[in-house]
Amino acid sequence: MEHQRLTYLLERHLADNATQQEQQELSVLLKANANGEVFKTVIAEMMQKETPAFPVNLEPWQKMIGNVVNTDKVGYEKDRPIGKVIRLYRWSANVAVLLLVGLGIYFLMNRLLPATKKGNDVIHYQVVSTARSNQKKVVLPDGSQVWLNAASTIRYPDSFGSQERSVELYGEAWFDVQHDEKVPFIIHTGNITTRVIGTAFDIKAYPGQQNRIISVQRGKVNVMAGDKILATLEKGRQVRIIGTVCEVRDIDTVSVAAWKLGNLYYKDESFGDIIADLQRVFKDSIQIKNNSLKAIVTTAAFNKDIGLHKALEILCNITDGRLSKKDGIYIIE
């Protein structure tokens, strides 16, 4: 069977403009035993040509990760609570290569996604990741600077096209973007995109974290979900996106990406998110025993140099939590 004909038929099907006759033809081809390999090849080719996009409703997909990794756990009558599974996500960006000993899904993202085809040009990507307790500075092809916080990953092409400058971020990073009015700079974080022309700002979007936070230090930023503008931010403004709710407020520009200097600055953040952050900054594990504690909204600021123990003491003081350490794990209850 012809590869070309099948590509044509499937393209018609995807575009939803196949005639009844073409649908019939596709059906007949599917039924024939001999066509399997060609079908699979064509499908794989077409799949890779599609422009990447996240589903609108991410929730069931995030649950799926838990379902899948739980398949080979035994003696679990019920799946692990979702919360726990999603919590794993917070570290997900520590990326494999650094962490994986053991059975290891040992993969280099570079190897995984060596190239994407766009028209006739092959785009090669760079992937840079940080481990927990680690930061990295990255200079993008257009000269824009990115400061990657702990447990984060950024993926960008070897060279940007003439239409837009697109990067993907998992985790937190501070951007200082080269001004170019004609070529917008776009950061994809899950289903949220942030568009800028030239500015300095911070994005915090760790998978699994309740809030996504974008804070602007300089210039102007558009935050979008699909085609819809969620917020337009100027200098000294911050948006928090919690599910579909957006909350814009004023911030002190000095606090934007204070983490670059080792300053940990939390304003009205949930205790759970702060602890998740501390686990990325320091390598230790911290467990919060009661859920009610996690939801407490807290404001705190300190420098990383005071050490985790001191930092936790301060936080427990504020939240009335009790701190203990067992088997090398901090426990707060």
Binding site: V28, M64, D72, V74, G75, L99, G102, I105, L112, P207
Partner: protein, 178 residues
């Protein structure tokens, strides 16, 4: 590191979900079916996680697994004399996972397989998967070398795959790998 694997898997999932989803949703025109196909794909990836490092082009391999799933789905429909769905994709509510996606049968088979493992291997497996202990932790607890623990885990995973293959659950993947 057992949890490390899960974290890495989550990253992998989030990296590829946006790459698989646009095609599959247009191909099936059903959010539920797209979920099923993508879940099947990632289960195969997960159960072959020890091999990912040996595969020369893991990205290409993942697309191959996904395209296999798409083809099987379409062929099944054709053989049942159902045409491809037409019209706009269903906008069904998908907040709750369908029971079909709960994977009861697969889990039951894996359960059986694990209980057929020799005692020591089973113990190591359970410490790794159920208790989330790392290889060095297991090695220390059982007085074994980390390498022994690692090998035991690789062998167990292989055994589980073979067991599933015998029950034709995951035959496809083995064909792909060979």
């Amino acid at each position: 590191m057992a949890t490390g694997d899960e974290q890495a898997f989550a990253t992998l999932f989030n990296l590829f979900l946006p790459r698989l989803y646009p095609f599959i949703i247009k191909f099936t025109r059903s959010e539920t079916t797209a979920q099923e196909i993508i879940q099947e794909t990632f289960i195969r990836v997960w159960l072959n996680r020890d091999k990912l490092s040996e595969i020369e082009n893991p990205g290409g391999w993942l697309y191959k697994v996904a395209s296999n799933e798409c083809y099987s789905y379409a062929r099944k429909r054709a053989l049942n004399n159902k045409l491809f769905n037409t019209g706009t994709p269903e906008t069904e509510q998908v907040a709750v996972m369908q029971p079909a996606l709960e994977l009861k049968e697969l889990k039951a088979l894996i359960h059986e397989a694990v209980h057929k493992l020799p005692a020591q291997r089973k113990k190591i497996y359970l410490m790794s998967r159920n208790q989330g202990k790392s290889i060095p932790e297991i090695a220390a607890a059982l007085g074994l070398s980390p390498n022994t623990v690692k090998n035991a885990l690789v062998i167990s995973l292989k055994f589980i795959r073979n067991y599933l293959a015998k029950h034709e659950v995951i035959l496809l993947i083995l064909m792909l790998m060979n």
